[in-house]
Symmetry: C3
């Protein structure tokens, strides 16, 4: 189940990355779109695996590369439809961070990492691909906007750790935590929530 | 002793990172400030550990995460005072690069690295967190300014290698090298020193 | 042979990085030029080695650091001549991506990586140093320009995989693939080739 969720996450993140590419002029050729999709979808998991000291999954398993290529093809074929509804990017990205947070957290725990570090690694899995993407195109990463974004990942990861302590069965725990990340992100944007602003005094 | 110096370095770098966050509007919420503190304080050591092929220390030892959280709390509580004296950022950052250069160098040597590479890894430990921070917010990293910054780290690291060859006892060597980094950095800024400028001819 | 090609690649990439430094004001001091040369020439190989889970070569072998220092010295001594012919940067960079693509690909295959991932890792070896360099100075990386750049690396890497399947002897295969990368890059620039542009529709 984790394996397939991870592949689905790779696929939706590739779509979100490729779609984001169209917001930038310099991205419009096939290589630029594919490279952006690739970095967005494997950047976070690769950073997590490097920190855990294990080889990133896409290196030995060609299905991840295939999932990214499929994501790019789907985006190219249906981009008119996707871009019409601007929320498509947002939607695929939200699904992606939900899946990746929980998968990343779980992998980190399986490697015997301290639970606090595992929460951070879950968040890194989810957001780091987007951070690298934004850094490459000289944008301030989304995580520094006033939106609730990485905070949703942290909340979902914390829920997972909590339910795990309470002995909740793993599959249910995963589903619940993924839903929490997605719900917080969607609700925050709809209601315009943001974190408290720290005045300079 | 090395362990505690490392924790102190993490703490002061977290303060310097969190303070730097206030110079940017997009950083003013709690997550932005904490994330900047985190990246600034663990970025360099993490890069060093990845290159050495070992798991970064903060992953298995929660004290590092606690040191960062404490740094953020201290910054939030006392930020009015810190920001009043603009040099606070500078001071904490200077302490941080002094500690991290020598700790990073020592760790690299302990892993059997070539001394020249160890000097470079000491410098990377000290400056890379700040480089990533600056890249994320689209600033030209401080190391490319005309100030003496990374050069101070290289000088301190070279001193350590030299004294080690002469058989100086490790603790004294560490203290001397840390003091050299800090002294060069402070004096260079006070006197306006800079490296020779290479004309295009 | 691979070892010496790798050192030559390091040397020419150091020259290309140091030359690129002169295009930016903030780079003109000795440290800035050297650091840019260092990042440009070892960035790609380091990222490849981290992903493969092996220690980057420059950490244990001082010849790489020496090759970079030589590259910087050569650049400083002859920069008037290099900069006069603007194509010097371009030429050294093109040689560099040719060598690095094939060496990176070969190393990845030697580590038992899936051929598709090996092709990607060959490309990463070649282009990632330049990507980091461009990110540090807030430029959109060259790979996102409309030029044929990373695509040339991918083509050369694909040729290598193909000829290897056909049983072509390794040394000939390397030479052929390196020449293909360089030829595509040179021809594309001369003829103004670019990848198809994907309209928004």
């Amino acid at each position: 189940m984790i394996y397939w969720l991870d592949l689905i996450g790779t696929f939706v993140f590739a779509i979100s990355g490729a779609l984001a590419a169209w917001d930038k002029k310099m991205y419009h050729d096939i290589f630029g779109v594919s490279f952006t999709a690739f970095v967005t979808s494997i950047g976070g998991g690769t950073m997590r695996d490097l920190i855990l000291g294990t080889r990133p999954v896409w290196v030995n398993d060609s299905r991840y590369v295939i999932a990214i290529i499929l994501g790019v093809i789907v985006t190219i074929l249906f981009r008119a439809r996707f871009l019409k509804y601007r929320r498509s990017i947002f939607l695929f990205d939200t699904l992606g961070i939900g899946f990746y947070t929980v998968i990343g957290l779980q992998k980190a725990l399986a490697f015997g990492v301290h639970p606090w570090a595992a929460v951070i690694l879950g968040m890194i899995s989810a957001i780091f691909g987007g951070v690298i993407r934004d850094m490459m195109v000289n944008e301030i990463p989304l995580i520094f906007s006033r939106q609730i974004y990485a905070t949703a990942c942290l909340a979902g990861a914390a829920l997972y750790i909590g339910l795990r302590h309470l002995g909740v069965e793993q599959d249910w725990n995963m589903v619940a935590s993924i839903i929490l990340v997605i719900t917080i992100r969607l609700t925050a944007l709809r209601k315009g929530w943001s974190l408290p602003y720290l005045e300079k005094k």
